[in-house]
Point group: C2
Chain length 142, copies 2
């Protein structure tokens, strides 16, 4: 099983491998990073919820038909303990067209420690208005 082949050392390693697989449109590498659970969840920006390996795999295969997507995770906020790491990031998406001029993508990635090492249990991406500028907390407080 490719799923159990690689022991990824940290949740950060999984996140790096996740966005690397998306950039290379490598569906096998991408799917090997998810936990071996029926209840894994993937939400693409503006789309319905997908649950389970079959639905999640099909969605990425459809995306990869147009090639890989270069995404840089930025502006990380994290909550973590020994067995779980939650990342909330801004996804800086590189596209040839300027599709993302007035919006940005926010993503929550949750990683849990499994017998095979750290794995993704949830990826929830969504669209936020405006460009990313200063920290939204400061913008609201001051």
């Amino acid at each position: 099983m490719s799923r159990s082949r690689k022991q990824l050392g940290t949740a950060d390693d999984v996140e790096t491998s996740f966005y690397d697989a998306i950039a290379r449109a490598d569906i096998e590498a991408l799917m090997s990073l998810w936990a071996d659970e029926e209840d894994i969840v993937c939400i693409h920006p503006g789309a319905a919820r997908l649950v389970g390996h079959g639905a999640i795999r099909a969605s990425w295969e459809a995306i990869f038909e147009r090639g890989g997507v270069r995404i840089r995770p930025m502006k990380l906020h994290t909550a973590h303990n020994l067995m779980t790491v939650t990342h909330n990031i801004v996804e800086e998406v590189h596209r040839p067209e300027s599709e993302l001029q007035d919006i940005h993508i926010l993503a929550t990635n949750v990683y849990m420690k499994t017998p095979y090492g750290w794995r993704i249990v949830l990826h929830h991406a969504s669209i936020a208005p405006g460009k990313v500028s200063a920290d939204q907390a400061s913008a609201t407080l001051h």
Copy 2:
């Protein structure tokens, strides 16, 4: 500190209290459910990311100016271990107007065990197209 007063037994108790506080527009009850961390994250549907107690509190105070919002968490998918519970749900929102006819709200809620019991570290809500019908996984697979 109201934050440490109540020992909530499970993450499910926190979720119940969270939506109850939103229904009653009770800002103190709502804010007491969050972890005492700077990096807590709240994303309202279609809005920018908020980080930290100050920004999150201000956003809910603005929402509560129009009164409470009755939300029923539905169609739960969960990933959990001893110290963390991740819920992904559909938020069934009850509004007088029929604002939500062609969309629905998806939310990820992450709870972690703290010295004060279970607390929210992240709430990420977003808009998905269409009505909620059958499980999206089945819809994609069959």
